[in-house]
Amino acid sequence: MSFRIIPSRNINALRQLHPNRNRLAPCATLFTATLLTAKSLLEAPTSKLYPGHVPISPLQRGILAVGSAFTALANPLRGDMVAALGETTGGMFLERIRDQMLLDPEGRRILRERPVITSETMQLDKLRELPDGTFGREYVRFLDDQQVSPDTREPVHFVDSEELAYVMQRYRETHDFYHTLTGLPVTVDGEIALKWFEMVQTGLPMTMLSSFFGPLRLSHEERKRLFDIYVPWALENGSNSKLLMNVRWEEWFEKPVEQVQRELGVQPCPQV
């Protein structure tokens, strides 16, 4: 349920209730409008939009957002809660990213073809055979080092639009490429730096929340590194580079990492 739905649904709901609403005194109408707003808060979409979709009402959404924010803060390892937080608060921002994708030929192609990133579609074994220094080779090296696979991502549950759910999924699936591209480590401060970078690029509130609250959990050293080095880098590169959601990563594997960085306008993050 995003903001855009509320008004038009109210119109229709009101029409059904009061076909003869012109006769109503304005105060009564106002009252009904308020009631209906409350009613629409409790209304969930009628059917499942995609496998894994959990339709929820705006009220539930609010509760879930607040709850997951606290849980995520207390325990950043609860990946499901971090994900739920992003999904429940992201409607408007997902739309913005989708619109940014619609304005770009590559972004449109991604939305049309909806490529998915799994260990199967990525053919990781083939990537391992690429020469050192190519984007694909460095990407598998990263996965191997971290002992993660593209298949370990949390699926999307709470986004009430089939297309936006895909955008969210794509956003998650491409996260590992960002590490390869920027050279940021998988440490708490490295992740937070990446969130800052994404926030500048996309304005997703999940990244916004974690970029503001995340630092609370850092040691003095980590915090210093974050604000002296990472954040300035993120602010500069996040705004200068091409929107990474419009990158068809799967087609860049053969290119050297430096070339990919140059073409996308991203400078590698200073190593510490």
Binding site: R4, I11, N22, L24, P26, L30, K48, S161
Partner: protein, 557 residues
């Protein structure tokens, strides 16, 4: 106040005036010598001589022509000597021979108030009713959020006013019970040329029955000055003819007038002459107009959307489709100057696809398509395919969420009439005052408004109606019609309503010229709230229909 100069040149005029003067005993009539001079000048027109008039109207657009007709049809004003000066060839209007399968691209909505006025001055009956489309409904929605407001003729006919609904016990006006003639239209759509044709016909009819109306067409005003190189010094009084403005035409002719009317459009030379400042700005927008053919069977609105006006607010400006008869419609698409130029060049088929998309597709999709019009005017991507793909995605979502399915769909555009696509710059401008001594402004010369509410012309007609009435009253009371005091009632009646309209429309245009989240959200809630409040909606419609000053029970007469 005791001496007055007469410029009336016919015996009939003198009689009328004498009669009036007798009626108002406080006025002493002084037959001025100059009258004979006026007569002789008139009798032997000589390009080097200055010819005197009571009223000179600069600009033969709809406002100027309507004023000429209104004055000519007035009891007292009909005796005045009037000139109308127009740069263009007005014979185009009188020789207008429209074909049933063609419509001019300049179409305006006329409010009930404007139509009543046109009826009163005998113009409406000159028009061909088959070329006038009644507009019975309006669908206006927000392209970013989808929030929508609908108006239909039934609303405007609500008998009680907003206040009466608030105080439910308030007595209804007695006439509220009368009549069952439901659904008088919200507005009438017709070509500007059509109205011009009717006006021109009436003007000639007035001339034929002896009204002194001189029409100078294909003639430009070259200069206007305040002082004449007058050889015959007049007695110095406040009504000294030498203080009357002199209008020099590009054929060398000079006219001198008691009252100069600027009906000369947004760049009004008369306004500059009178040194009246005007404030405003150019929207960096153009309005692209075109005549469209539509397929009504594709509309989900009542009666297949016949007689419905559609307007969708996009971040680049509103797009509006106004109903015409027989499956035609008129387009006004306000957008950036670049897109307007590109739209003009686009092949007809792609243009229609884009217009359809502009009423359905997301603003982002639309922007993408508009960006993909090449410098040669050819689409750089397959418009049809892109649009179909996005429509299928939207379809899927709207089915699942059961949203927006009840919103009526406009009819599909199937063709665009050749050579009707034309961009017009959009502006907002308001003169700091509408009157000066011997000068008055009407229509676009006084105020120019964004066309999103279709009010510009209607405001101009309201000006004209008011001015003709004020001049008539001055004549009846024996006042000098050019004197600023005689003109003040006009400006006090028209200035504020026009300013209110300009301000409202300007705010609306700015409010909708963004896709910034919080603004979109707030305006959508507002629009939805208004849509759900019958009484407020009724008031808005009455304002838009030019009925705000009419008690609602009388509104439909």
């Amino acid at each position: 106040m005791s001496t007055r100069l007469l410029s009336h040149t016919t015996a009939r005029a003198r009689i009328t005036l004498l009669a009036n003067a007798k009626k108002h005993h406080n006025h002493r009539l002084v037959p001025a010598l100059s009258c004979s001079r006026f007569l002789s000048t008139h009798a032997t027109p000589d390009s080097s001589e200055t010819e005197p008039y009571d009223v000179v109207i600069v600009g033969g657009g709809i406002a100027g022509s309507a004023l000429a007709c209104a004055l000519a049809s007035g009891k007292a004003t009909g005796t005045q000597k009037i000139a109308l000066i127009e740069a263009f060839d007005l014979s185009n209007h009188i020789n207008w021979k429209p074909r049933a399968d063609q419509y001019s691209n300049r179409v305006s909505s006329l409010t009930p108030k404007s139509v009543a006025f046109l009826k009163r001055i005998g113009v409406w009956s000159e028009l061909d009713s088959s070329r006038i489309a009644a507009c019975n409904g309006m669908q206006v929605w927000d392209g970013v959020s989808g929030a929508r407001i609908t108006f239909d003729a039934a609303h405007s006919n609500d008998r009680s006013t907003f206040l009466q609904q608030v105080f439910a016990d308030a007595p209804q006006s007695p006439s509220s019970e009368q009549g069952s003639d439901q659904q008088s239209p919200l507005a009438w759509m017709t070509e500007n040329l059509h109205v011009q044709y009717g006006l021109q016909k009436q003007m000639l009819a007035h001339k034929n029955r002896g009204v002194q109306l001189d029409i100078f067409e294909k003639t430009k005003v070259q200069g206007i000055s305040a002082n004449v190189s007058s050889s015959s010094p007049q007695e110095s009084s406040s009504t000294d003819i030498s203080e009357w403005p002199v209008i020099t035409l590009d054929n060398g002719k000079k006219l001198q007038t008691r009252l100069l009317v600027g009906a000369d459009g947004v760049n009004s030379p008369v306004r500059s002459f009178a040194k009246i400042e005007s404030l405003g700005w150019d929207y960096s927008q153009f309005g692209l107009v075109a005549t469209l053919e539509v397929d009504h069977s594709t509309s989900t609105a009542l009666d297949q959307g016949k007689g419905v006006a559609w307007q969708r607010f996009l971040p680049t400006g509103p797009i509006a489709m106004l109903p015409l008869n027989n499956g035609y419609a008129s387009l006004v698409w306000s957008t950036t100057p670049k897109i307007a130029q590109d739209l003009k060049k686009l092949p007809a088929q792609d243009f229609c696809a884009l217009v359809n998309a502009a009423f359905h597709a997301s603003p982002a999709d639309l922007e993408y398509l508009c960006r993909n019009i090449g410098p040669d005017g050819q689409p750089q991507v397959d418009f049809q395919k892109e649009i179909e793909w996005r429509a299928s995605v939207q379809e899927l979502e709207s089915h699942a969420v059961a949203r927006q399915s009840k919103d009526a769909k406009p009819p599909k555009v199937t063709a665009v009439q050749e050579n009707t696509r034309a961009p017009f710059p959009l502006r907002m401008r308001n003169s700091n005052s509408y009157v000066e001594d011997r000068v008055v402004l009407v229509g676009d010369a006084a105020h120019t408004v964004h066309p999103l509410a279709g009010q510009g012309l209607n405001q101009g007609l309201a000006d004209v109606e008011c001015l003709a009435r004020v001049i008539e009253q001055s004549l009846l009371s024996g006042s000098d019609i050019g004197n600023i005091h005689s003109l003040t009632p006009y400006s006090s009646e028209r200035f504020l309503p026009n300013l209110a309209m300009l301000g409202t429309v300007d705010k609306l245009s700015k409010l909708y010229n963004t896709d910034f989240g919080p603004v979109v959200w707030a305006r959508s809630l507002g629009l939805t709230a208004v849509d759900n409040m019958g009484p407020i909606k009724t008031e808005i419609m009455r304002f838009a229909m030019g009925l705000e000053d009419v008690p609602s029970s009388a509104a439909r007469r």
